[in-house]
């Protein structure tokens, strides 16, 4: 550990002020990046979380080292980790498209609180290193998260006999396309008599990128398939 910080390991007025300011600073640095991305929890939220967490560990240490109360100094600080889990769960929202938003914000807030705990307990090296890591993760690593696999797509296949559908399913399997969902709809009575009887909505997930028009072309040319289209 750095000897530079040794005078600040004990609870004194100077170290108290230093810890609180450092906690605010680290919280603000992390939060500023979130604010810049216009996320729900901005730099004020992060500062408060970091500051509060720092106070909780400091109070524990103060009661033990300065007031000589027999206690476990980590008990108070430790509860912050659970508490922030709650707050984090509250920031997660479910969108209309049934996806979850705000998980990274929740994780960032949680980690920010832990950095506050480290600073509050006088573990400045860890707190500062972790802050640097968080900033690096949030700014420098963005490109690594941008690799995305080919998207899922849905096709609508009109057919008459169920053997035709089996054929399509086998075709997808042979081409290493995962069938995520299958929904068969009966079209009887909807149009004229020679209209196709059923339509199957198939959600496909290719493991590698595929030419969709070529794929549809192959499916349409199968026996018993009347029509195939992408939705």
């Amino acid at each position: 550990m750095l000897a530079l910080f040794d005078p600040l390991r004990r609870i004194t007025l100077v170290s108290t002020a230093f810890r609180l300011f450092l906690a605010c600073l680290c919280g603000a640095a992390i939060g500023l990046e979130r604010s810049a991305k216009n996320r729900p929890a901005g730099f004020r939220t992060h500062m408060l979380v970091c500051l509060g967490a720092a106070i909780s560990t400091m109070t524990g240490i103060y009661m033990f080292t300065e007031r000589h109360l027999l206690m476990d100094i980590s008990r108070m600080g430790a509860q912050v980790i659970t508490g922030l889990g709650f707050i984090g769960a509250g920031t997660i929202i479910v969108t209309k498209k049934n996806t979850v938003k705000g998980l990274t914000t929740a994780a960032g807030l949680w980690t920010c609180g832990i950095i506050g705990l480290a600073i509050g307990s006088g573990f400045y090296e860890g707190g500062i290193l972790a802050t640097a890591f968080v900033l690096f993760i949030e700014t420098g690593f963005g490109f690594l998260g941008k690799f995305r696999r080919p998207p899922e797509f849905r096709i609508l296949v009109h057919y008459e006999k169920k053997q035709a559908l089996d054929q399509v399913m086998r075709f997808c399997k042979d081409n290493r396309i995962v069938i995520n969902n299958l929904r068969i709809r009966s079209d009887a009575g909807a149009g004229s008599e020679d209209a196709s009887l059923y339509s199957a909505e198939i959600a496909l997930h290719p493991t590698k990128s595929v030419d969709r028009t070529l794929l549809l072309d192959r499916i349409v040319n199968m026996a018993g398939i009347d029509e195939a289209e992408e939705i």
Binding site: A78, V100, Y198
Partner: protein
């Protein structure tokens, strides 16, 4: 080499943090690639935080033995190094609860996200403790389970005789027709749950979720779906796979 990491110095702190972030990053990258809710950033942040909790505990313990030893001499020693780390489990549990949502037809989504985060947080704690052996093995296992086992599980479910499907139909009597058709195939019905009751005013069809076990003689899922779809009263049928 590994025992060098057991010391608690600035270098080992850095190495432990790097270990936590890098291992979680690889798992997170796969999650990002698959466009899951929790991606690269979330995994790295949580692993980093988890590693920090363990190190805060170790740090405070070291301080109690050195800088704060005078207070210990007066009051006595009472400290639990694991307390910070222990709270990570419930903290991430709560966070994970937020990612689990109910989607259409009473299915759940986000369970793997929640449990993946949980396992990664635990791995981060091992990294924070300098338990490199565990991190190395756990990393491989978590990666294999999270990144490679999904097709295996889905494939397994498609081969099972148990199948859950959502059937849309028009009127109340149709439910009996569908039930009869399923019975005729030799399948056994475990459960029928009406999702939306039939009503004459509404344009939306009624729907029910069937949990059935297919006959041993014909365990094909698509055959069953086609048979149900062929019934004139059925609007649509869909298999539900979690």
């Amino acid at each position: 080499m590994i025992t060098l990491l057991h010391e608690f110095t600035l270098t080992t702190v850095l190495v432990r943090l790097l270990l936590a972030v890098a291992s979680a990053g690889v798992i997170g990258m796969d999650r990002s690639y698959k466009k899951r809710e929790a991606g690269l950033h979330t995994y790295m942040l949580i692993s980093l935080g988890a590693a920090m909790t363990i190190m805060i505990g170790i740090y405070e313990y070291e301080m109690l033995l050195t800088q704060w030893a005078d207070a210990v001499a007066v009051v006595g020693m009472k400290y639990d190094v694991s307390r910070f780390g222990a709270q990570v489990l419930s903290g991430i549990g709560f966070l994970g609860a937020g990612t689990i949502i109910t989607v259409a037809h009473q299915q759940k989504a986000g369970l793997t996200t929640a449990t993946g985060l949980f396992a990664t947080a635990c791995m981060g704690m091992a990294a924070g403790a300098g338990y490199v052996e565990c991190v190395a093995i756990a990393f491989v296992l978590i990666f294999v389970v999270v990144a490679m086992m999904q097709p295996l599980e889905t494939g397994f479910k498609r081969r099972l005789r148990n199948i859950t499907m959502c059937v849309e139909y028009r009127s109340v009597e149709d439910l009996a027709v569908v039930t009869e058709a399923i019975n005729r195939c030799g399948a056994q019905i475990f459960d029928i749950e009406v999702e939306r009751a039939a009503s004459k005013n509404e344009k939306k069809p009624a729907s029910a979720i069937f949990t059935i076990q297919l006959a041993k003689s014909n365990p094909s899922h698509s055959d069953m779906l086609s048979t149900i779809a062929e019934l004139p009263c059925v609007e649509s049928v869909q298999e539900l796979i979690a």
